[in-house]
């Protein structure tokens, strides 16, 4: 599949500060790509380079086959963007905003349909400064769709929103993907990335420290899947000796780190055979958030270096 975005050795420096430090990644057409990182990691700078708002200090970048800085005008006709904390003119209504954007892009936009899509029909005639944070973001999303772009840049689109508003925006993002659009999503919410994105890049200090599907990243950087039993301390000692797997106690429970799916059956058989009695069983695995926290934490300690 062709690349909607291709970046090779992307750099942006401000004096001594290297905000973006040699990023390389590709985003396939028709996929959702999540860009994760702590505050100040270089996410927004990278996004703004891709959008043609900032000039890269070094590196090659193509967005929809265009140079974002030199061919910004052509690019802006083909992308939709929600910047962080979308703001608009205070005394303008969502309907007027959509009509304004439609004229700027020389497109015929169905304002009612776009407002329905982002669940903003009831606020169509309200001034922007009377909208809630979630409603403002929804308007930003509607405006990003006015020019029917093949590529959407969503910079923390659900930041600070209540769960209901977040889910509404997730639905619009999923629908955009179903419609064949590529989505470049930056977010603080790991759960959001895990839920929506096919591929994820974790960035810190301007470098990518992990990249792949959420599954791949968890598998590569997470700890082993765990079987958790509720039982006496002696059970932990017994299983450690008989299974040959790492076993420890955590919050009064026995935790077995598994290396294989078959370890589940073996562990339960040994627990039964021990006669020590156990009352409940559950499994646990790392989430993307666990991996993210661990990777970023280890990078801060100097353990992990750039993956690309």
């Amino acid at each position: 599949m062709a690349s909607a975005i291709s970046a090779q050795g992307l750099e942006k420096t401000y004096g001594e500060l290297r905000a973006v430090d040699g990023l390389s990644f590709d985003v396939e057409e028709g996929t959702i790509f999540a860009f994760l990182g702590p505050n100040g990691a270089g996410k927004t700078t990278t996004v703004e380079i891709l959008e043609g708002l900032r000039r890269a200090t070094a590196g090659e970048v193509k967005v929809l086959g265009l140079d974002p800085w030199k061919q910004a005008d052509a690019l802006h006709h083909r992308i939709g963007v929600i910047p962080q904390e979308f703001r608009f003119f205070d005394k303008t209504t969502p309907r007027e905003a959509i009509e304004y954007y439609a004229t700027l892009f020389d497109k015929k936009a169905d304002a009612d349909e776009l407002l329905r899509k982002v669940e903003l029909t009831e606020k169509a005639e309200s001034y922007f400064d009377t909208l809630s944070g979630g409603q403002k973001q929804k308007l930003g999303l509607a405006l990003a769709l006015v020019n029917d772009p093949p590529l959407l840049f969503l910079d923390e689109p659900t930041s600070g929103l209540d769960p209901h508003a977040r889910r509404a925006i997730w639905e619009v993002i999923k629908e955009a993907k179903r419609g064949g659009r590529t989505v470049f999503l930056t977010t603080h919410y790991l759960e959001e990335a895990e839920l929506l994105a096919e591929r994820v890049a974790i960035i810190n200090h301007g470098k990518i420290i992990a990249e792949g599907s959420p599954e791949e990243i968890i598998r590569e950087h997470g700890t082993a899947d765990r079987l958790v039993l509720e039982g006496p301390p002696a059970l932990a000692d017994h299983l450690a000796k008989t299974l040959g797997l790492p076993v420890h106690r955590e919050n009064g429970k026995v935790v077995i780190e598994m290396s294989d799916k078959r370890d589940v059956a073996r562990a339960l058989e040994e627990a039964d055979r021990s006669g020590l009695g156990w009352t409940s069983v559950s499994t646990a695995r790392d989430s993307l958030e666990d991996v993210f926290v661990r990777l970023v934490g280890r990078m801060e300690e100097g353990v992990v270096r750039s993956g690309r």
Partner: protein, 365 residues
């Protein structure tokens, strides 16, 4: 430059502006309040000086003519105390009066017999301006009577004509001044605030991701301030004519100032907003530029009334040339000077426009 995009931006901006009651008040109604306020102060202030007259000569023909001549000067408002009131000086002190004239008994007879006769004029040393007016007016009438008595006629005469051979009032000069005030304040305050706020809220980044260009955005703002300036100018002139019977004429030569003026101050406001780091510092920079012009460029007071050093300062303020040009076009009908002012204003406007486009933060390197 795309007309559809420019019009779309104009429409959305003008709608927002019209919905902002504070902005509308300061643009359209504040100058009207100022002209009403200044007009009321000027028209209610007494332009004649009170002179208390004690006529001890009785109802004679000569004293009646003398009093009529005093009245005719137009600068004295006469009031009379009877001879029975006693000493005029004491009467004036008791009634807090500042100027008094005693026409002595036998004044008429002495005048007709061409004998020397003295009028007694009381004035208050604490009111030098009143004293000057009274002495000048009474002295003038006395001279006229002396010439008449001697059968002589004046050789040197002064013909009273005002500038432009019409009678112009302070309000006439205030009208272009307040139009200039409107040309200065509404684009300056608004643009400084908008630029700083849009930068802070990243609205420029948002707009720059659309096909709208920097020049189209700026053009739509200038168009809006043209319209606002025209509306404000017509309201100010309407009040000036309707309420104060001013003698200002909206000549063709005045119209270019209503175009070039807003262009100049929209651009200057953009520069101030663009160089400021925060909305707070933008407000300070805006005030530093606006307030000296508001008071020193001839808005409220004619620059000619300033001392030479302040006049020199006025001549480096762009608003001076806008107001001076409108004064020349609308009041003095001095076409040559108005064209010179228009040329200066246009050159400054073009320079500011180019600088504004260059420093305007649309994208970042």
């Amino acid at each position: 430059m795309n007309a559809r995009r420019t019009y779309a931006d104009f429409k959305v901006f003008s709608r927002s502006y019209l919905r902002n009651k504070v902005a509308l008040f300061f643009t359209l109604f504040f100058p009207v309040l100022l002209i009403l306020l200044f007009g009321e102060i000027v028209t209610s202030s007494n332009t004649t000086v009170d002179l208390t007259v004690q006529n001890l000569d009785g109802n004679t023909n000569v004293s009646a003519q003398f009093l009529a001549a005093l009245n005719h000067t137009g600068v004295l408002s006469l009031s009379f105390v009877p001879p029975s009131a006693g000493n005029l000086s004491k009467y004036m002190a008791a009634h807090d009066l500042t100027a008094g004239l005693v026409i002595p008994a036998g004044f008429s007879q002495a005048y007709l017999q061409k004998k020397v006769v003295s009028l007694v004029l009381y004035t208050d040393p604490g009111s030098p301006s009143t004293t000057g007016v009274v002495q000048g007016a009474v002295g003038g009438v006395v001279n006229y009577f002396n010439l008449n008595a001697s059968g002589a006629h004046p050789i040197v005469q002064v013909t009273g004509e005002d500038v432009g051979s019409q009678v112009y009032t302070y309000l006439d000069y205030l009208t272009p001044g307040l139009i200039g005030f409107s040309i200065l304040t509404s684009p300056m305050f608004s643009m400084v605030n908008i630029i700083a706020e849009y930068k802070k809220e990243r609205i420029f980044k948002q707009i720059s991701l659309t096909p709208l260009t920097k020049a189209e955005w700026l053009t739509s703002k200038i168009l809006w301030y043209f319209i606002l300036t025209f509306i404000a100018a017509f309201i100010i002139m309407g009040v000036s004519y309707g309420v104060f019977n001013s003698h200002v004429t909206l000549t063709l030569l005045a119209l270019p100032f209503l175009f070039v003026g807003p262009l100049l101050f929209v651009a200057l406001g953009m520069i101030a907003g663009a160089v400021a780091k925060t909305p707070e510092s933008a407000a300070v920079i805006g005030n530093l530029i606006t307030f000296p012009m508001m008071f020193l460029a001839g808005t409220f007071f004619p620059v000619q009334s300033f001392n030479p050093s302040l006049q020199a300062v006025a001549h480096v303020l762009p608003l001076y040339y806008v107001i001076d040009g409108m004064n020349n076009a609308m009041i003095l009908h001095n076409t040559g000077q108005a064209l010179f002012d228009l040329a200066v204003t246009s050159v400054i406007a073009v320079i500011f426009f180019i600088i504004a486009i260059l420093v305007f933060p649309w994208r970042e390197e």
